[in-house]
Symmetry: C2
Subunit: 366 residues, 2 copies
């Protein structure tokens, strides 16, 4: 069994590798040759003062690649109120102030575990490339100005991914902290060789943009309804960055998955499934019954990305449409696809550490 | 991070350890200090000729123990028709003709992975001890004759577990193959030091029994309705070993979980959840829509084991009641409880292999 580090992964996971792997995965999903077990979050309140433990997992399988991926996160979470926004903060509580996120790959041919590696490098790339694949199908062909909201690791992955699908000539960046947006602009300008301009307000960033990308850790609205104008394409890393008012102005909405919210299981709320993105109220005890689950949003029956990639529905039919892609939740097949590509590349290059697979097999019937 | 083998586990996992850990877990569950993410099965048909790949997983967390367990099985499955019964066969397809079932433990305090080990030794013990805990609350105090159906690893774990909760004086065993039931009887007689009698028919085995235990790999009925007589207690390792006719004769039914069937995700059936124990028909394409999911059984709102262990409902109120415990599906907290006990015992004894935890941590934000 192969153990890879984030450094190993970084050395093989190019944008090109990720685009090829993900496009293929959505084609497989469109043709019924892929399957997801949707994301679930299991919460243990009461272990930490002021924080909550959360175990997140999802799975995906690809028939052609004969691969199944399990992706898990073992997190200590704090929700913080900051500048009128609620921010979800993952506390690096593991030894050495580290986080725990793992991708595990299994062979669907033999069942054996093939590899285990951290998810930190894969995570933003699979999100950004998924949104960029949607933009490839949905943004105007002549889109040239990109507005990006956020200056963190998600935003950092989105700029190159979007530059790979459209001939972007200028990037506007807005992030509430001046130093952050300026540093981000510098970095991206160096990386892409095009002007990347830090903007004083979100409105200014959005003003002349053809593509709007929200890539923040805010769990409240980022994209204003008035920005959804003819010809624009907007996207997000979580649906709360849009809101219904914003989305209702779009002529066309495509979503990542109809599983609109994670399935939450919370100690103290019974063994009931609660659908919500951030079940803070349940954990604090303000809400108890599953009747309080988030209602399915109005856009839940919109076409999924697989339908657009697979050609069942169009991404855009005229230059004047306003389109939105809601990258609303992750899917296991993203980790199966990108994880398998990483595994094969790493294997070919002799990267990582091998430990005996036999440690993880058994001759006792399970 | 600790890696244990089935041999390591066998050397520390006594019945006593399992009883204590599981009783505590059900008490925690009763008081809202435990949580489960129910079992899901992800199927990839089309990888093997005549077989189906299945990735099964479940999770459980315990607040007091600050532990979360993930249990997964990466299986190649064949459903076989044998003697008018459908048998689920797990093909040992991994190198060395082995199976893949793993328990992974995580600290809810730091998030870090603590241990990973095979599930083969834990699996039958947690099933048997759970059923024995139910029998402790539900069988007549003076129950002395145990009838066991099946002669495999599940049955082998049930005999000692039931002998630990009742003063069993005789065991009747029935299994369709003569050689199997005779060998099993010999083994159990040696182990328990009481008469264990191989019977020529299931009816003969059931005749004078106070406790009936179905522990087979049949997915069709094992316990006949006529065997459910006043004073008897019956139990199973899957609900199909009973059937509705049998269960309707019981005065009192207790179940393991209201999650009556695994949530199945099957490539080719869309990303829809299908509730069924063995979704053979879906996989063969005879059924397609989730409207064909198994309907919730009539007993789905029966009290759960946690309610009985926690004292909310009685297990038996008179010597003449006929009681049934349906060990209908596994729960993640079983693996959290027994897994954590195994981990702590093994750690104290210096068993297993240590590999650097740091390999599974990351300084890149996940």
């Amino acid at each position: 069994m192969l153990i890879l580090s984030n450094e190993d992964i970084e050395s093989v996971l190019t944008l090109d590798v990720a685009f090829k792997a993900l496009e293929r995965a959505y084609l497989d999903q469109a043709s019924g040759r892929a399957v997801n077990r949707p994301r679930s979050d299991l919460y243990l309140p009461g272990v930490h003062e002021g924080c909550v433990y959360a175990f997140k997992s999802m799975e995906g399988g690809l028939v052609e690649s004969k691969i199944v991926a399990l992706r898990l996160n073992s997190d200590v979470i704090r929700w913080e109120n900051r500048e009128n926004r609620v921010i979800k903060h993952k506390v690096p509580a593991a030894p050495g102030k580290k986080w725990v996120g793992l991708i595990q790959l299994f062979s669907a041919e033999t069942g054996e575990p093939l590899a285990i590696f951290p998810d930190g490098v894969v995570q933003p790339i699979r999100v950004a490339v998924t949104s960029a694949l949607a933009a490839r199908e949905m943004a105007r062909k002549d889109a040239s100005v990109l507005a990006i909201f956020g200056s963190g690791w998600q935003a950092g992955a989105h700029v190159p991914a979007f530059c790979a699908v459209r001939d972007i000539k200028k990037v506007n960046v807005y992030s509430p902290t001046k130093a952050n947006r300026e540093k981000f602009a510098e970095q991206m300008e160096r990386l892409e060789g095009i002007p990347v301009v830090p903007m004083l307000s979100p409105e200014a960033a959005a003003k002349d943009a053809d593509i709007l990308v929200a890539a923040t850790n805010a769990i409240t609205r980022v994209i204003s309804p008035t920005w959804i104008k003819p010809g624009v394409h907007a996207t997000c890393v979580k649906d709360s960055e849009f809101d219904d008012g914003t989305l209702r102005r779009a002529d066309r909405i495509v979503i990542h998955s109809r599983n609109f919210a994670p399935e939450n299981y919370i100690a103290g709320c019974g063994d009931q499934k609660i659908f919500a993105h951030d079940p803070v109220d349940f954990i604090r005890g303000d809400k108890k019954s599953t009747g309080d689950s988030e209602a399915a949003p109005f856009w839940v029956n919109s076409p999924e990305l697989k339908d657009v990639i697979g050609g069942r529905v169009p991404g855009r039919t005229s230059p004047n449409e306003a389109t939105c892609f809601i990258n609303n939740i992750g899917l296991g097949i993203q980790f199966a696809a990108v994880g398998n590509a990483v595994y094969l590349e790493a294997k070919a290059k002799g990267l990582g550490k091998e430990i005996p697979t036999d440690w993880f097999l058994e001759s006792v019937h399970p």
